[in-house]
Amino acid sequence: MLIFIARRLGQMLLIMIVVTIILFTIFEFNKMNVAGQVLGPYTTEEQRQLWLEQQGYMEPAVGRYFEWVWGVLQGDFGYSHQLRVPVNEVLWDRLRMTAILGFWLFALMIPLALLFGVLSGIKEGSLRDRVISIGAVGTTSVPEFASATFLTAIFVFWLGWLPGTSGMYDGWDTRQIILPVLVLLLYGGGYVVRMTRASMAEVMNSQYIRTAILKGLPYRKVILKHALRNALIAPFTVIMLQLNYLLSGVIVVEVFFAYRGFGTLLLDAALFGDIFVIQACTLVAVFVAVLSYFLSDIGYMFLNPRIRVS
């Protein structure tokens, strides 16, 4: 067990090191653009060169790489040329905002999706199953930008119940987070419903469930005690992977609603060529990705004793 965890942690570290090197190399070829972005399009090549020298970009790349890594280890992610503040000042705040979005998404999605998935999978082919399945396929098939437009048209323009953007310019406003969460819920939730349903249906067809029913156990007990635990293994992995999705897939939703989260930060930085922000965001995204794999592996092990044994 411990060896397994140590090995996984080692892999995580290796992936992150490789990613940082790739990132650094990409930007080595793009330095002039950064200078152009910062100084404006009418500046001369010499001015840009001078700026790069002043900013220390002309020092040997290896030295700068280690300097940067050392800084990161100490919690210093560098300086954002676009936002004109240290990356630290925006990164954690933006991550917090996306975490809030994620919290509400998971708080709603997990119980709802599992409930509908289980209800659907208990009796495969029933009317209830078909209605839920069609609904889930429908919501997952609609891309976020389309459902965002659709929900905005209904709740902002038609009913006038909700604000149209979610920038939280005057501090926290719960009403502003409803539409982004709803869009993510429709898209991600449908997927989890489908996975839970498939898993539940498979479990319901297994011999031990049939035996439990035949030996006269109450149906309710069969579902709750025997079926559910086994049926939740697959959805658990899917839900853990949603963490990853949240960091990349959330960009569309955040940009649409002008929500100041991690997604908009990464997009703006990518468009501007804001090196340190991109590096910091990518590091965080990769960290969350490998961490979620790590957690899903561990969780999977607890849910499925066969893996633990092997």
């Binding site: 404006g40 604000p163 920038g167």
Partner: protein, 563 residues
């Protein structure tokens, strides 16, 4: 006052203008525009028009005494960095700074340029020497007096190639080329006394006052260190309280009385009503702007496009301001790069176009037909040229002659810098070009990425904002070596015509000369510009006097909130 102004005119041409107006040779609006440019006060011009024609032109309404003091105006607009006004390349940047740092002149929603930091000005008869008299008693936020040194400092900065300012091209008549580098002519700017500045040009220039309201010409303090957001010292009614790029900017009423409060001017004079102007960044998309307005998060928006017009029209508590403007997107070629270095190729690419289709399909005929020369019918110096007809056979023959009889593959960089309609325009062009066996591929990219390469791409779709005169935009974009010359077009004959046009006072006479420049641009097929887009902005009904300036420059001195 009128009689006085005629007896002692600010410029020798004013009595002739008055005579032209009397004889009906000049429109009232042209008279107003030209006489104010030559130093006559707007109030006197309006009044003189009424006297001469018996039919007064109504001056823009004052907010009057009904305006309510206080309140906060929230405007949805991109919040970008705001370091050096001299190098601004987005109007949005200048909108953030426009209430902090001010301009020597001001062009209102009526397209008339009036005095601002400059009290008045005179031009020599040949329009080569301009004298600006500055207002006295204006103070910078740090307590310093606003004086001629500030103006001289700004001109010297703009005309120093190290600054990298587009104003270098705007005031090219004040520069000369030495050893392959453009620099300011010695003595081009002279401080006569603390409140008088003299500008000297190589050639006569009519549009100096108008150029002085172009968005990178804000006057900064003589000790300006290059970063306005860090040190927002201005002469304007507001100061910067908060500035978070990509999020929001807050302008708060400065802690000293505004110098313009006693001024009689429909745009900048009178009481300043708003306590605070807040810009919120809801991204680039027009639909987010309209959604923010509808959802009550913004009281006004910077701009939205035709795609969102229907949605905006459905709002029952907001009003749309339609702006007459020469803002447009041009699909321009690098005329020195193959295959566009062959004039026949460029001509063929334009001949294949069905001009009316663009306005019809893209804008439901709400815009205007373009003529590939970048001068709009609302420009006083516009000249109506014969309409360009689609000529597929002619286009094919030209391509054949140029050696592309078997077809041609080209690609255009589109960053939708003028909105999603840029892409539609490129797609329509691609469709038209298929008829002559030209495969136009569209390379989409984010707008910010496009602005990185806008001068470098061989073929790209660039948005140009409105400028009050046709000469201004042609000079900025198509003169040899101009900073914003994105086509690399260099034609001494064109430059000469522009020199000549810019020295002519009479709008009709000038349009005769400018006509030659427009014809040259059409003939040389430098740009593909088949349509003028309509522009829209909107505000809630409780926002009073929300202006629809042709360039969407924000001047909120008269805006008040009726709660």
């Amino acid at each position: 006052m009128n009689e006085d102004e005629l007896k002692r005119p600010k410029h020798p041409a004013i009595p002739k203008l008055a005579e032209d107006l009397r004889q009906g040779k000049m429109s009232r609006r042209d008279f107003l525009r030209t006489s104010t440019l030559l130093g006559m006060s707007a109030a006197a011009s309006y009044s003189l028009i009424g006297k001469i024609t018996g039919n007064p032109l109504v001056a823009p309404a004052h907010a009057g005494d009904n305006g309510k003091m206080g309140g906060r105006l929230r405007v949805a607009m991109q919040v970008q960095e705001m370091q050096d006004p001299a190098t601004f390349d987005w109007v949005e940047r200048s909108n953030l700074s426009r209430h902090i740092v001010e301009y020597l002149t001001c062009t209102g929603a009526d397209n008339v340029t009036r005095p601002y930091l400059a009290r008045e000005w005179e031009a020599s008869e040949d329009l080569r020497e301009w004298t600006f008299h500055l207002r006295q008693g204006i103070k910078w936020h740090n307590g310093d007096d606003f004086i001629a040194d500030d103006v001289v400092f700004n001109f010297e900065r703009w005309l120093d190639p190290a600054t990298g300012s587009p104003n270098m091209s705007l005031f090219s008549a004040m520069t000369e080329e030495v050893n392959g580098e453009r620099r300011m002519i010695d003595g081009a700017v002279e401080k006569v006394d603390d409140y008088t500045v003299k500008l000297r040009m190589r050639t006569g220039q009519l549009a100096i006052p108008e150029n002085l309201f172009n968005y990178p010409t804000a006057i900064v303090h003589r000790d300006f260190d290059g970063d306005l957001s860090a040190n927002p010292n201005g002469t304007g009614p507001y100061t910067l309280a908060e500035h978070r790029v990509g999020s929001r900017a807050v302008l708060q009423r400065a802690d000293r009385p505004y110098w313009g409060e006693d001024l009689d001017d429909p745009y900048i004079g009178g009481p300043i009503y708003l306590d605070e102007i807040v810009y919120i960044d809801v991204g680039e998309d027009g639909s987010s702007h309209v959604a923010a307005l509808q959802g009550g998060q913004a009281d006004a928006v910077y701009e939205f496009d035709i795609d969102n017009l229907r949605m905006a029209e459905d709002m029952d508590d907001a009003h749309i301001v339609t702006v007459d403007s020469a803002t447009c997107t041009v699909m321009r070629m690098h005329v020195n790069e193959p295959p566009f270095d062959d004039k026949r190729v460029r001509q063929a690419l334009l001949k294949a176009i069905d001009i009316p289709a663009y306005n019809r399909l893209m804008f439901n005929d709400e815009g205007e037909h373009g003529e590939h020369h970048h001068v709009h019918p609302i420009h006083p110096d516009y000249y109506q040229l014969p309409e360009m007809e689609q000529d597929i056979e002619g286009a094919r023959a030209l391509l054949e002659e140029a050696g592309y009889g078997d077809g041609l593959e080209i690609s255009i960089d589109v960053g939708n810098v003028g909105g999603p309609t840029d892409q539609q325009m490129a797609e329509l062009w691609a469709q038209h070009l298929r008829a002559i066996n030209v495969d136009l591929r569209i390379n989409m990219m984010p707008s910010s990425r496009y602005w990185e390469i806008w001068t470098e791409t061989p073929l790209g779709a660039t948005q140009w904002v409105h400028r009050p005169l046709g000469t201004m935009v042609l000079s900025l974009a198509y003169r040899s070596g101009a900073a914003w010359n994105e086509t690399n077009y260099a034609n001494p004959e064109f430059d000469e015509i522009m020199d000549q046009a810019e020295s002519i006072l009479d709008a009709d006479e000038r349009s005769e000369v400018l006509r030659q420049a427009m014809e040259i641009l059409q003939e040389d097929a430098v740009i593909c510009q088949p349509v003028w887009a309509p522009r829209f902005t909107a505000a809630k009904d409780y926002v009073k006097n929300f202006p629809g300036q042709p360039t969407l420059y924000h001047i909120f001195h008269k805006v008040w909130i009726d709660d």
